[in-house]
């Protein structure tokens, strides 16, 4: 079974100092924020949109928004919660815009699976000691999972990525997505069941 996540907390002293420095336009604070959060934000956005080019553009806009509005950040939530909220909103808006233009992620998903093969990050789906068949199987699984995520309703996709990819707590996801915790749980349950059906259909699982 999955583990419990840490409870939602206010900003830590370290975070407050970092934000204060950022509000004073300290370029080293900018570098620190980028070092701490760029990969997290990029990964979340990529898993939601399933397209690297779009994810890059959206994630850049997320940080531009963060720095533009950092003076208004009051510290009543964790900085990362605020950051994820901005990322989720930007992604949601972009998906709406792309949806109107009949956007398709399929080609990117193939590319993402190929890129994953070259990625040095270890994956439980792709053991480093596995042979070529197992690697191929792992890549196929990743592709099917990502396609399944892309096929979910946007509000289901958000909670699934925040919970099962980023391992955030229910209350943090509720704060990020501005819905009640009960809604987060029911959306998550529906998302997981829909993904289970997708995987059963494409991988021939029971």
């Amino acid at each position: 079974m999955g583990g419990h996540s840490a409870p939602l907390a206010m900003t830590t002293l370290r975070e407050r100092m970092l934000i204060r420095r950022l509000q004073q336009r300290d370029e080293r604070a900018f570098a620190e924020v980028m070092r701490l959060y760029q990969h997290k934000v990029f990964n979340v956005v990529f898993r939601m949109v399933g397209n690297r080019e779009e994810a890059e553009d959206i994630a850049q806009e997320v940080f531009v928004t963060v720095f533009k509005h950092v003076d208004s950040f009051r510290g009543d939530a964790k900085f990362s919660t605020w950051l994820y909220r901005i990322a989720t909103n930007h992604t949601r808006n972009r998906m709406k815009y792309l949806g109107r233009r009949a956007y398709n992620t399929t080609g990117e998903l193939d590319e993402a699976a190929e890129r994953a093969a070259q990625d040095a990050q270890p994956s439980s789906m792709r053991p480093q000691t596995a042979g070529p068949d197992a690697v191929l199987e792992g890549l196929q699984l990743e592709k099917v999972v990502q396609e399944g995520i892309a096929a979910l309703e946007p509000e289901h996709r958000e909670v699934l990525v925040l919970r099962d990819v980023e391992n955030l707590s229910y209350d943090e996801i509720a704060s990020i997505t501005a819905v009640a915790e009960g809604t987060v749980k029911s959306r998550l349950h529906r998302a997981r069941l829909a993904l289970k059906e997708h995987m059963a259909k494409h991988l021939g699982q029971d």
Partner: protein, 123 residues
């Protein structure tokens, strides 16, 4: 009161079971059901594999020049002002500035009063 679950109810509880978020009564009822129901046990195995597969996805890293691209966007949008040291007037809160100004005016008034004592007017 003892709770019993059927297939549909068991499926409803999978997500909370995975997240260890079930009430004790639901937890024991589901575990009892899973012990005896091979269909639900198999369904839960598939559910576990699915959620585990999402958690096992690679972390996709931002490109190496990502931070530099963000910095360039910020510089362009702010016309180079964002990373410039902020002007004194922007750094000092207005309230503090007002208090200092009031203090200064009061000090000048006191100094002027002391250096020019009021002249007594004789009848």
């Amino acid at each position: 009161m003892e709770i019993t679950v059927d297939h549909a109810r068991a499926t409803e509880l999978f997500s909370a079971y995975w997240d260890e978020d079930l009430a004790p009564a639901d937890l024991s009822a589901l575990e009892e059901h899973l012990k005896s129901c091979v269909v639900c046990r198999r369904e839960y195995q598939t559910f576990k594999k699915t959620v585990g597969a999402v958690g096992g996805l690679d972390r996709v890293m931002a490109p190496p020049d990502f931070a530099e691209e963000v910095r360039a966007r910020i510089r362009k949008r702010s016309r180079g002002r964002f990373f410039s040291p902020r002007k004194m007037a922007e750094r000092i809160p207005y309230e503090l500035f007002s208090l200092v100004m009031l203090g200064l005016i009061l000090a000048i008034y006191i100094v002027l009063q002391l250096s020019h004592p009021a002249q007594l007017k004789l009848p």
